[in-house]
Subunit: 757 residues, 2 copies
């Protein structure tokens, strides 16, 4: 039976849908113990309880929480229990939900940081993603939290956007697969829908189309149409909804003029009416207050958001005006009850209302579990490394004397991404490229120089140190790229986005870039290496696709690694040592600045590029396939009918994988497609499906791709629908279907695809 | 009574909706007389007539027609008569429509070229635009043509697009006003809707949203939503429809996945059902054939287009398969009849069916009319010059010794734009900046050097010539920019867009640019002038907004002039001599490359620009207001009700203009607005209205702005609709409303705007 808030006084119902506080201000670590603050006391007194408490454990420059002043990891659960007791006893008795940021690992002191979503996108491995998610969930729940805020819905359509790293991919099918895996891994899959004490409820963010913001500017409008929304931006959300995700966070941006926070078509029409999804919709931080331009006052803003389908606020002042909105008659009290009921339903789902969870269910992971987690983080890092170019330079012999230079050669933080907690002093599992090279080649055979900043030049001494490092080296590893590093000296906006980042910061929320070409200072390092050393290996560690055309002529091999996490250095050196990348590019790299946006799945068109950039695409999504492997797609079964698509029927294509090399390989095998539906301009290429497989040396494998409505149907309405079509399918990396592409026919009741002459 | 094609055999009806030929191949000028070719003979025989004949007079590099081989202007009418007689007598008796390109003047030998649309946008003068249009129409009709293909619907949303020059503006209200003026001027305004012998039928192009193509790439998809389409892209088309425009040309691009050529929602739903418009829809050149990706074969492509609402093809092979489509049952014969009826209706409208027009109605303009036309072209050029920056450098004394350098200093063709016929040998009305300076300062006081190409460097000698020109000069006028010049040696795509332009061409159809910053070669000229001469005046003649931030520190004054036409040189020198520009920027200039798109009417957002380009906007739409003029808006009337908006009621705002200078001034006065409608994210600023006024020296004027549903209503659905709102209005050039902005309240039946607290 669903819990109901109807019997609560309106004030208490309003309290259930407010999530105003910053948790680190509600409870503080003082003299070796957690202390409730007046901030929490006042809030509980005001509402007779609170619906949810955000970020008790959040530790980062915005919160100014660090190892010296934060709650020690081992005392998290105790702290949460203190808060929960306080809320229950001082308020009217309802427990509160504890909500934490978990974008790529728990953003708390001691939280395990995993590679950013874009790195997981390179891996294209839903199972690994689910395993990582399960570990993250267990770790987070063990601390005492119930709800994780998790990025993954955003689609990388413009790499100028600083949050590109939080996207899994530019491709909606890949993002959907990894989002679904994340939800499954984090929430578990109990048949009764409950989220048990080893798992955590997920609020997936952001809904929707934030990646379509004009010019890649954070929070700018997405003036897109219904089909673009459905085909590109809603797919990960649909996958999450189907997996039973507990919540969605409404995005800051508007879609065609209507802010997502006020978008009833989206939050009620699509989510609830179309998808039959049940769960809570949370506003993004201060997003309801940001409706100030769409409404005359805060009460109207709250009414608009709640009526649209927002159930729970985040930091907003506007939601404190809900009683006023009801009294003024601009908001139906039943809408408030409905929202509060949804918050209660989530509390029940995580076991808060019937006492079905307790400290016992959320034990700290044991040592073996922790080791397994760390191993998975390393595996994910390996999969994040894409070998884009290798002019027979790799593998690099272990005997080489190596100069390792560049801003990301020995900068652990630059491997981690935004929304990362401060690292512990003792952090044995980590590696940079420098430390990993030292481990492989010996400290004496590795010469390091930073050489330049990420956006700024360094001193003349630093330049001289580069020359010194290069002198006598037989190979150079030049590690370039960007960083989402945040500093405790940075200034932040009211939602935690950096606002005045350090001049050397290039990535993350609030750090959009107009120029993606690497700055001259970084390219100069590559040129210096090229001039001084016979073998140059370039590495790009970054959270967004950059133009690579200037790099490739300056190096013999190029590895691209979206922020690969704490184990990234070793993973990159493994590629250098082994000569094979672990993943594929999760997004298309533009050839040069000025051609954005580009994506592998833009529609067919008659444009001929720019006269000063004939081919806007540099490297396509999916580039980086390992050498020595051939993939051949077998001809298709006759095809399927549209009603069979609706009934869940499928066709299976089989790919024969042959590994003619002398070593086993783990690789992602993408299946690309072009879907012809009469009257629609087709997308040039989309990802139909992708599977990872391990193939032993001098051996083969057969890989089945099972294709149903998700892969072959229409997504124009934001969910898979049967429609007659012909789909060309292929596995080569080509942007257009090769001559031997396989045709899958989806026919109507009369056996027609709509594509017959 | 509307003519009906129902009695014609299907084949003849199909003939009426085909416009396959390139007219210059249908009739040729041989041995001093026009000759019908086999091309026309075969086509007439095939269909028993033809519906329309495109481009008999077209003269340009694509057609390879020039003064030496084309039909002399004085023999045009005779040529057309020959063709018409042939079609009538050899076919089944129906006359054909003669269709010509008239993008900014008739694109035929001897056609008068007027400034490009973007230049008219700078002028913001609907009356002048209408007068120019009337002259163009008279000239074109005098040649014997019936239908003009006229740009003006496209909205300049991304200046990388080579066709930016064909747009009036980035702003839909300005574009709509000038489009309406163009239709009124060209077609006349007879109460019976007929287009008499002094006027010409307009097919306005392109419908719709071509300016929203991804990345500014010509013909790329526009994945925009309904509100963006209605508010930004459909407004000029609605204005044209309301003015009774004879036709629309469907655009190449898709809107959210559906090619405009196959877009029934647009071509039938919006145009006919919503707008109650009657007229013909013409396909763009080969656009039906380009449905090949959306359909299995040409017959299906034709069926799709006709069913969507295309009535007349252009060059397409697909429309020759219409009978096949009917026979195969994929196209209703009634759809063919309907399309043919619309073609016949246009023939009737221009007087072709009842013999109401004859050679007598289309006399060559007399000398006085021609002089008036030339004077208007000069006035339009003057209005096209925007004084963006003046550090007390202007006026320049006539005694100055002037170095005039740069690729556009003496390049007449670079002033004209794309779709321009070859100039006559004897072309007395023209001027370049060089020639105009020579006229003012004396040939002996003007030193010219080209210095560089538009995209390419010139020889060392050319550089040395710059130094020579600068030596001893007291002022430098450095004329930079781009060019849409086409060469008879260029290669062209099957639709006449240049495909392999000369390396020095930068603008026009098929010439999209990824980098808009002026090339180093051009900036070097400005630097050389800055170093050598005390006073530097920069002039940018270009068809698109370029980043100007690099130019301004290098000059004392900067004049921006969208391709100003044949009289552009004198117009620019008038600004130099007078110290006042004639127009305002018709589009927002980006501050730097990499920030596109930008526009003054993007929605309010929370983005803070890019960390490497905090303010993406360089110069706002509307910049360039003349000094010495103050504009003050009086407080508003109480407001109006939404039903009054529907009933055509208006409010009038009055601006007091004071000219405190010693000379009369003609200026455009824009009225800006921000419209708050509950639940919508407002556009930061839009143009509500603009009026031109002349104010005498030391004098004042009162300017009324009459605001109705067009200005104050919602355009979300593609036509003005009443909706409660509050509209802030102001005349200052600021991007945000100043403190003294005037509020106009549009209330519902209960006196509420939806904006009350």
């Amino acid at each position: 039976m669903t819990p109901s808030s109807a019997s609560l006084p309106l004030r208490e119902r309003v309290g259930q849908i407010n999530q105003r506080l910053k948790g680190w201000e509600a409870v503080r670590w003082v003299d070796g113990a957690p202390r409730i603050t007046d901030v929490l006391r006042r809030e509980v007194d005001r509402w007779g309880g609170i619906g949810a408490l955000y970020g008790v454990l959040r530790a980062d420059p915005w919160s100014q929480v660090r190892w010296s002043n934060g709650i020690p990891p081992a005392r998290s659960a105790e702290t949460y229990e203190l808060v929960q007791d306080f809320v229950r006893t001082r308020g009217a008795g309802l427990p509160t939900l504890f909500v934490e940021e978990v974008p790529h690992g728990l953003m708390a002191l001691g939280g395990t940081t995993v590679p950013v979503n874009l790195a997981l996108g390179a891996g294209m491995d839903p199972e690994l993603t689910a395993q990582l998610a399960a570990h993250i969930a267990a770790e987070t729940r063990a601390r005492g939290a119930h709800v994780a805020l998790v990025s993954g819905l955003d689609i990388l359509r413009d790499p100028r956007w600083g949050r590109a790293e939080e996207c899994f991919s530019e491709d909606p099918a890949l993002a959907a697969a990894l989002m679904e895996a994340t939800v499954r891994g984090m929430q578990g899959s109990r048949s009764d829908g409950r989220i048990d004490g080893d798992h955590i409820a997920v609020v997936a963010k952001h809904l929707a189309a934030q990646g379509a913001g004009i010019g890649g500017r954070n929070g700018s409008g997405a003036p897109i149409g219904r089909r673009e929304l459905g085909e590109i931006h809603l797919r990960p959300a649909y996958a999450a909804a189907r997996a039973g995700v507990a919540g969605f966070m409404a995005a800051y941006n508007d879609i065609d003029g209507v802010a997502c926070t006020a978008n009833r078509d989206l939050l009620t029409g699509t989510l609830r009416d179309d998808w039959n999804w049940t769960g809570i919709v949370m506003a993004d931080g201060t997003a309801v207050d940001r409706l100030r331009d769409s409404t005359p006052d805060p009460a109207t803003a709250a009414a608009l958001a709640i009526h649209a389908g927002v159930d729970l606020s985040l930091w907003d002042e506007a939601f404190t005006h809900v009683e006023e909105a009801v009294q003024r008659g601009i908001l139906d009290e039943a809408d408030v009850t409905r929202a509060a009921d949804r918050v209660l339903a989530l509390k029940e789902r995580v076991g808060l209302l019937d006492g079905s969870i307790s400290r016992d269910h959320a034990a700290e992971p044991d040592a073996a579990t922790t080791r397994e987690f760390i191993a998975l983080v390393s595996r994910a890092a390996a999969q994040a490394c894409v070998l884009v170019h290798d002019d027979d330079a790799l593998p690099l012999p272990a005997s080489a004397v190596v100069a390792v230079i560049g801003p990301n050669a020995d900068d652990l933080e630059a491997q981690l991404g935004d929304y990362t907690p401060p690292r512990p002093q003792d952090d044995p599992g980590v590696s940079t490229v420098r430390s990993a090279l030292e481990a492989r080649h010996g400290v004496g055979n590795v010469r390091y120089a930073q050489g330049s900043g990420h956006r700024t030049a360094l001193s003349d001494e630093a330049t001289a140190a580069v020359d010194d490092a290069l002198a006598g080296a037989t190979a150079a590893v030049v590690v370039l790229g960007g960083t989402s590093r945040r500093s405790y000296e940075d200034e932040f906006a009211d939602n935690g986005a950096v606002d005045g980042p350090a001049p050397d910061t290039t990535n993350g929320e609030g750090v959009d870039l107009s120029r993606l070409a690497l700055p001259a200072e970084q390219l100069a390092l590559l040129r210096a290496a090229r001039a001084a050393v016979p073998l140059v290996i370039a590495v790009l560690i970054d959270g967004r696709p950059r133009p690579l055309d200037e790099l490739i002529p300056l190096c013999d091999a190029l590895i691209v690694s979206p922020f690969p996490g704490p184990a990234g250095g070793a993973a990159i050196v493994d590629v250098i040592a082994g000569g094979r990348g672990g993943g594929l590019l999760p997004a298309t790299h533009p050839r040069v600045d000025g051609v954005l946006p580009v994506a592998h799945d833009e529609r067919m068109e008659t444009a001929r590029g720019y006269v000063d950039a004939r081919i806007p695409v540099g490297q396509l999504f999916g580039a980086g396939a390992p050498a020595g492997i051939t993939v051949t797609l077998r001809p298709a079964d006759p095809g399927i009918a549209t009603d069979a698509l609706n009934d869940g029927d499928t066709v299976t294509l089989h790919a024969d994988i042959v590994n003619s090399s002398d070593s086993a390989v783990s690789l992602a095998v993408p299946l690309y497609g072009r879907r012809h539906e009469r009257g629609l301009r087709p997308r040039r290429r989309t990802l139909l499906s992708v599977r990872r497989v391990r193939v032993e040396a001098r051996s083969g494998a057969v890989l089945p791709f099972v294709l149903g409505a998700d892969e072959l149907g229409s997504w124009a309405a934001g969910r898979p629908e049967a429609a007659p079509a012909e789909v060309l399918a292929w596995t080569a990396s080509t942007h257009d279907p090769p001559a031997d592409a396989v045709t899958v026919r989806i026919t109507d009741g009369k056996g027609r695809t709509g594509w017959e002459s």
